[in-house]
Assembly symmetry: C2
Homo-oligomer: 331 residues x 2
DNA sequence: TATCTTCGTGAAATCGTTTACATTTGTCTG
DNA sequence: CAGACAAATGTAAACGATTTCACGAAGATA
């Protein structure tokens, strides 16, 4: 691969001038600029992003880190797509790190990202006290959190109002006439899991429904946990007549069990899921769900991050997007 | 961040010696080694992967590029997971590039990847003549293709036998007694789309079934195309009694239409999908599908790539993994 | 004792950029 | 016409590692 040096030689100028043309900084004679552009074309010169990043510490590397807990979850895939679209438009490229809810893996990835001299990071930290991500923020790297905040840190966040969304969803279920509404929550260490549970509780209380602790279970946010806890709930002596599932994967696990038992949805048991999927209509019956604007969350996060890279001093923004209850036929 | 220079100063040695300790190359006195390790710990020194990559051109950067056509397709997500697991184990990190079947985007990403001095690339090229990926291979960068080969190039490939898998699936449908089996294929430019279609055709021929061209349609591999062509097929004066869908997303689109029309699966119309999903049992009825070992494809590809990075001369391998017909209840 | 190895280490070049500073030339002002 | 200033360009020092070469000391060999 041709380097700047080769270009400079070919054009009969110094590398400084080549650099100036490339970054169109300062003034350079129109004639030399042409000579240089010609040389660049002839040599098919492509600047090395690595060298650039090494030299100009920050903001010029056009490299973003993305740290997500679980790439199997369609929610994060959509977030990722949003980020990726913005990144592409701004000539950034993404290092994707999927830590699978494993904190050791998260720690290692963060170390690597630092040592890759990324210009910024979009992260969904393992929890809101996450010391590793906090350290990165303190070190001055531009960071935007998605889906989960960072307690006591003045950092950009993009999320939805989890508690209120859950509240509305469960209220809807109550109004529909369901009496025994169960909740399968995600990992309790994840803030959004707790908030959704809070919303669930509040809705029941506000509607004067006694909370039955046997109807509340919390797993690890996985597909398998959906299967396991739905089984447990359905095996109760007085099983629920509706389930409010805490995320995408749990919903799918629940559906597997319910279908397996040939139960009718929503006749025998209704299902309302937190997190919608693009293909929720392909489910039978189509799933009633709380739709987080996942793609938009990613997009906004990307925009905020690039803004912050260009202006590190700007005060932190907490952006709460609206989720929407998509009423279909499962509840 | 502390640099090697800082460590060297603190330990009272030269950076060369620090480097030697880090790469435990050559011999270094046990005492100095200790001093250096201590300094490293005290300064929380982390080597810069950027500098390393700049200096030692190839194989040392621990950076892999992954170029995939559509991250919304669960198949590629699983492939990505496989790659990611191997990468993590080998201390590599991944730059994820999703070109959304857009060749211009693909071209730009490839340029960037080159200029990031990646050590290797895993790609599902836009088509088997893809000049951009071919060029990269010719430039000597280690490349492994997944799902799609590269015509006339001696390059590692990991895939399944698409034609045979489709043949078996359609044969199964015929044996089940379906007479009018339709096929919704993916983008004809993608080799696997063509191979699956070939398998479909061959199965019909071998079973003495007349091919009805009105039952064969080809879209762009998307969810929307699934919706569109299923509608078209169902609106035929003599509609099919079964559909063999060409990929994941098409399958889901088809299900949406079928459910929307309140048709019974498989009573009114049977569905057999190419590509399984981890949650196929959550569909109602559970989907009968050809399961490509997506995760394993990614894993193998990752392993091959790392092998090739360490031994660029090793002859190319074409690895054909077995797909499996998962008989459930939709067909 | 003179020479040869081996071990442990440091000096310096290198990778491909950016950028602060210096230099040259020409034009303008008083 | 001297001095100031601007435009256009070059020189060289970074950035943070790896790696080649050289060198001194110590031990081995003849």
């Amino acid at each position: 691969m041709a380097s700047m040096n080769d270009v400079a030689k070919r054009a009969g100028v110094s590398i400084a001038t080549v650099s100036r043309v490339l970054n169109n900084s300062e003034s350079v004679n129109e004639e030399t600029r042409m000579k240089i552009l010609k040389a660049i074309k002839e040599l098919k010169y492509q600047p090395s992003r690595v060298a650039k990043r090494l030299r100009s510490k920050t903001g010029a590397g056009n490299l973003l880190g993305v740290l997500i807990p679980d790439i199997q979850n369609p929610f994060y895939v959509d977030v990722l797509r949003g980020i990726e679209d913005v990144a592409y438009q701004n000539n950034y490229v993404i290092i994707m790190c999927n830590f699978s809810q494993d904190e050791k893996k998260e720690a290692m990835y963060l170390e690597i990202l630092e040592s890759e001299a990324i210009d910024g990071l979009i992260a969904a930290p393992a929890n809101e006290d996450d010391p590793r991500v906090k350290k990165i923020v303190r070190n001055g790297l531009p960071v935007v959190c998605v889906d989960r905040g960072l307690k006591g840190m003045d950092v950009d966040v993009v999320w939805v109002n989890n508690e209120e969304s859950a509240y509305q969803a469960v209220s809807y279920m109550i109004e529909k006439g369901y009496k025994r509404i169960a909740h399968i929550g995600g990992l309790p260490t994840i803030p959004s899991s707790r908030l959704r549970l809070d919303g669930y509780r509040k809705a029941l209380e506000d509607h004067g429904i006694q909370i039955d602790d046997s109807l509340i279970v919390q797993g690890d946010s996985s597909y398998v946990s959906g299967i396991q806890y739905t089984t447990q709930l359905l095996d109760l002596t007085t099983p629920p007549d509706a389930i409010f599932t805490g995320n995408n994967l749990i919903t799918l696990g629940a559906l597997e069990v319910i279908n397996g038992r040939k139960l009718q949805i929503p006749g025998d048991i209704a299902v309302l899921g937190f997190d919608d999927m693009n293909w929720s209509n392909a489910l039978n019956p189509p799933l009633t769900a709380v739709r987080q604007p996942a793609y938009e969350i990613g997009k906004r996060a990307g925009e905020l991050l690039i803004q912050r890279i260009n202006d590190p001093k700007r005060p932190a923004i907490q952006m709460t997007l609206n989720s929407e209850l998509k009423v279909r036929q499962s509840c």
